[in-house]
Amino acid sequence: MNLKVLCFGITRDIIGQFEYRLSLPTEATVADLKNQLSMQFPKFATLKSLRIALNEEYAEDTMTLKENDEIVLIPPVSGG
């Protein structure tokens, strides 16, 4: 399936764009997405953490992705 991922903060700098499109097998999980990104962008290994938000909520690694999900990369936050 084709997914669109939104990239904030340092993840946008690493990937080089705000909206990143990629393909994953149907039933792919959040963990699969993280693995795919780590392979394509070795710099992700330098981050303190990487969380994924699905539809404006933090997602567990085991959750399954769907084509129309709003998928967002959340590197370590630093508000306040």
Partner: protein
């Protein structure tokens, strides 16, 4: 509890007084306010300015979750959380948190927990701009 909670993500300068005015009630015993400011240096290196960005809808919903939790846990009267995004100069205010409570101890504890949690869970990022470069704060070890 919508009327007890005031969450705002703003692209314009924050007003501490607006947060204070929101939380004042006639049955409040104490109000505690936390005001963040942009510091002029990090580990001795001069900061020129800070750029804040947010995943806006989720930043608002995560701030609201923290506020709801604080109201319940500490029996707050009201809470106001304003966060700014965009470019901030030294001394400007990225965040204001005001809480009111019947008892001041609860107000102190609640306000501190809200800013601690905000810094852990709300999808907002800041980039420090130095004379000779820039860095996303806390992104890498």
């Amino acid at each position: 509890m919508p009327s007890m909670i005031d969450i705002q993500l703003l692209h314009t300068p924050l007003s501490e007084q607006a947060c204070l005015d929101f939380v004042k009630t006639d049955d409040t015993g104490g109000i505690v306010v936390f005001v963040g400011t942009v510091r002029n240096q990090t580990k001795g290196k001069a900061v020129v300015r800070l750029d804040f960005e947010a995943y806006e809808p989720m930043a608002i919903s995560e701030m609201r979750k923290i506020a709801v939790q604080a109201v319940e846990q500490f029996s707050l009267k009201k809470i106001s959380v304003h966060h700014r995004v965009g470019t901030l100069a030294i001394g400007e205010v990225p965040v204001v948190i005001a809480v009111s409570s019947a008892h001041r101890k609860a107000a102190f504890d609640a306000c501190e927990l809200v800013i601690d949690t905000l810094k852990e869970t709300v999808p907002i990022w800041k980039k420090e701009i130095f004379e000779d470069g820039e860095v996303w704060v806390s992104a890498t070890p």
